[in-house]
């Protein structure tokens, strides 16, 4: 573990006790995420990818093993407001404007009023929503709402962005567009991003590192370091390198699925 390690998980396990007996959401998971990485977690439902992200965010507590975020426990990291979390749904408050929604975490964290204003302007430009500050969420499309929720997670000084299928509910065209924008944003802000998805093209297109997971028990079956360059136009998805990585991800998913049956 180096000083550049953002996430470090050692033999991490999480078991939920349910009425139908214990469910092993995570079993002996080991992973290191370095500063500046774009890591995708991919796998079928029930493989623990969202649970893993929630453990990093201190929204779930592991039953065994260790995990550190920025070298400290997830709880301390959460209290230090070390990460921004983007949920599957935009979750904007209908009674607040877009600007008001982005301002919400800043108000909670006690940023000065003038600082709030400049930050709101900056992140709105970052997600290409400049001029929409005074609009209400219902006046925006689904894709724009999700961009606003990303802006909200970027507004405060967290170097880590945790994203749980943020584009899962959007259609293919909007999704492509947002993926492109997200890569652009990642390059400009040099944040570390952990991104949960169940789309192979999305994972391969976005990531520097792809973590393939499989269910029952939830575990990591393959970690793929992407050979693709950091500059990625959308048509990189037709190159042989891209297809090769995609193929390896698919193989990993199939292998994980095979021994679970």
């Amino acid at each position: 573990m180096t000083s550049d390690t953002v996430i470090s998980a050692r033999d991490l396990s999480l078991t939920f006790q349910t009425n139908d007996g214990p469910v092993h959401a995570l079993k002996d998971v080991n992973l290191e995420v370095q500063k500046g990485d774009f890591v995708s977690f991919i796998g079928p439902s029930g493989c623990g990818k969202t649970t893993f992200l929630r453990v990093m965010a201190d929204l779930e507590h592991p039953t065994d093993g260790q995990i550190t975020v920025n070298g400290i426990s997830p709880e301390d990291a959460r209290k230090a407001r070390a990460y921004g979390y983007v949920f599957q749904a935009a979750g904007l408050y209908p009674w607040r404007t877009i600007g008001g929604n982005i301002r919400l975490p800043l108000e909670i964290m006690g940023y000065a009023k003038a600082d709030q204003d400049t930050r709101v302007q900056r992140v709105l430009e970052l997600v290409d929503l400049a001029g929409f500050e005074k609009k209400f969420p219902w006046q925006l499309s689904g894709g724009m709402q999700q961009r606003a929720s990303i802006a909200r997670a970027l507004a405060f000084d967290a170097d880590l962005l945790l994203m749980d299928e943020p584009f899962g509910a959007l259609d293919e065209i909007v999704r492509d567009h947002l993926n492109e924008q997200l890569l652009e944003l990642w390059k400009r802000t040099s944040k570390t991003i952990c991104f949960v998805t169940h789309s192979i093209p999305e994972a391969v297109y976005l990531s520097t590192k792809i973590v393939v997971m499989s269910p029952r028990p939830g575990r990591i079956t393959d970690v793929i370091e992407s050979p693709l360059p950091r500059d990625r136009p959308l048509d990189i998805r037709d190159t042989p390198e891209f297809l090769e990585v995609a193929h390896r991800v698919r193989e990993g998913l199939r292998a994980g699925h095979g021994d679970a049956v």
Partner: protein
């Protein structure tokens, strides 16, 4: 506008027809009795005229009630005595003041109990059964005791009546606000957690705004219950003023017209109060983008 008006007028017209017919049926025996004693024979039209104009009918006709209401409201205002002790405005005001105070107290009690139930596990497990039990006690049975007990400790006048109003109106507020404060989804609560928001911040910025639609629905029911409470509070206490006192006096002296005019005044008051809350609701929720 016309499309709404026609059905409404049809219903109102039907109600009037039913009311006038019922007045004939219910008041006819007395009218025939009187005619028989005087040795007269009543034709149908004479009978109808008689049943619609008795002094103490079993069921007064609408125009009799309307005349009584006008006599005790508009006519008194024109005579410059709009607030005399014989005016329905005066009695409505007495009842309204108890209703309003009880409503405010009940809402405060209801909201505080709901906050306790949502934030405190012990209260969550223990308070609700008592709240429900409190509403199964007939208010008519407990109202005199509240008045007597409060009188014994030297509290009389407006407050005892308001306490009865509060007793009835806090219940819908508790139920609605518990549901409202719990209405934010797991995701929204998690989101607050990721920002390390304090419980107070989560309450003011998430739970309270989310509960507004529930609050207003509860307030409407609470307001109606509060008015019932104030009227019931005036019944057993020998109160000399208020719509409840008018009802009681009317029933002592067989003044059915007076009873009905007090009833209609109470209904109008309730409709106005609930209407005001509805208006505030519309404006608030529209401003909050939640309508």
């Amino acid at each position: 506008m016309m499309r709404n008006l026609v059905p409404i007028l049809t219903v109102v017209a039907t109600l009037f027809v039913l009311w006038y017919s019922a007045a004939i049926a219910l008041n006819a025996p007395w009218a025939r009795d009187q005619a028989a004693r005087a040795g007269q024979e009543l034709g149908f039209s004479a009978l109808v005229a008689e049943t619609w104009s008795q002094d103490k009918p079993k069921l007064p006709a609408p125009h009799q009630v309307a005349a009584e209401i006008w006599k005790t409201t508009g006519a008194m205002v024109l005579a410059g005595r709009g607030f005399s002790k014989r005016s329905l405005f005066y009695h409505s005001w007495i009842t309204f003041s108890a209703t309003a105070l009880g409503f405010v107290l009940g809402t405060a009690l209801g909201v505080s109990l709901a906050i306790g139930i949502v934030y405190n596990r012990t209260m969550d497990m223990s308070v609700m059964p008592w709240v429900i039990a409190s509403q199964t006690i007939p208010i008519l049975a407990i109202a005199p005791m509240i008045i007597v007990v409060l009188n014994a400790v030297g509290i009389s006048g407006l407050l005892p009546k308001a306490m009865i109003s509060m007793y009835l109106s806090f219940f819908p507020v508790v139920v609605g606000m518990v549901k409202g404060l719990r209405s934010p989804g797991a995701m929204q609560v998690d989101q607050m957690r990721t920002w390390n928001a304090s419980p107070a911040q989560t309450f003011w910025r998430l739970r309270l705004p989310s509960s507004m639609p529930y609050l207003f629905t509860s307030l409407k029911i609470g307001m109606a219950a509060s008015l019932v409470g104030a009227i019931v509070g005036e019944l057993p206490t020998g109160a000399v003023a208020g719509l409840g006192a008018r009802l009681l006096a009317g029933s002592y002296y067989g003044q059915t017209i007076q009873i009905w005019s007090a009833l209609i005044m109470a209904a109008t008051l309730a409709a106005a109060l609930v209407g005001i809350i509805g208006l505030v609701q519309r404006i608030t929720l529209k401003r909050m983008g939640m309508s």
